[in-house]
Symmetry: none
Subunit: 161 residues, 2 copies
Amino acid sequence: MEAALALFLSTFVNKVDRKGRVSVPATFRAVLSQQTFSGVVAIPSLVSAAIEGSGIDRFERLAEGIDDFNPFSDEHDDFSKAIFGKAHQLPFDGEGRIIIPENLLAHAGITEHAAFVGQGRSFQIWEPEALAQREAEAVDRAKRDRANLKIPSPPSGEGAS
Amino acid sequence: MEAALALFLSTFVNKVDRKGRVSVPATFRAVLSQQTFSGVVAIPSLVSAAIEGSGIDRFERLAEGIDDFNPFSDEHDDFSKAIFGKAHQLPFDGEGRIIIPENLLAHAGITEHAAFVGQGRSFQIWEPEALAQREAEAVDRAKRDRANLKIPSPPSGEGAS
DNA sequence: TGAAATTCCATTGACGCCCATAGGATGGCA
DNA sequence: TGCCATCCTATGGGCGTCAATGGAATTTCA
């Protein structure tokens, strides 16, 4: 079962029911439910009106990095507050649904439907229309920029770096 | 058992009742009550108007590793005195509540409500409004520093090894 | 013996868990 | 090859349990 690398792909739009529950796409679920916490860890995106989601392992790894007990230094503190403090553990119910907290829904402007957008190692949750706009903009920009954007063709081998 | 190392996430605001009791969030409690001391160990934060909280195991580890924790051993001494000396053990009552000592409450400016903020391996207790202010700053700074906040991705094996 | 604190019990509202249904996709079988 | 049975996902709703909270009862210490 672990043959599948943890990758979140594609976009799924699911309904938010009266009780605030949303089905997490089955393919996402397959990845998430293998982890030590069976559910989603969600934080508000720092840059968009969206929710960032991932498995808890991502946060475990993060915590390892700042594991030191350092009451004096507060550099990590901002960090921790922005990340750990804002994070929510959203456990799956029997059917693989989660309940997204009010403040996160508000942050993303989600009401009726939620769009799960795979981002590889993580995923985002958007209000479908906002996502559409955002995508349109992105395409638009890409089009506009393409004219100006002369991608220098690599003269020779030129590896990345 | 090291797989599920204590991880404190999210923020919970609970009420302080007339007798000074506060419910510790159930998710935090689940972690804390497994430890050798069933309760919270609290010290005043040295940098903010907040209370630093954790399980007792963290202090045990600190006590053990105090020598190699930091090369400056004289500072260390002050350090450990400041920490251990000011630490309070706050046992859970039957319902998972603790009573925060007066001086800690005063230090954090807590009166009606207490905000438990997950910080990864530990957590903090704030006066909700003070926290909101501080959070705004933290998020701001985190945005700026975002580039530096690379979450280490697993080599590729994905395995929690 | 009084004040403070700890233990016990009661309430309420949210959440977890259970079951039920529909629609789509899959595979089996004729 | 076409139809049907089956499985799974997404969705809805009911209900029991637990978390958070309040207060009373009981204990402890000065």
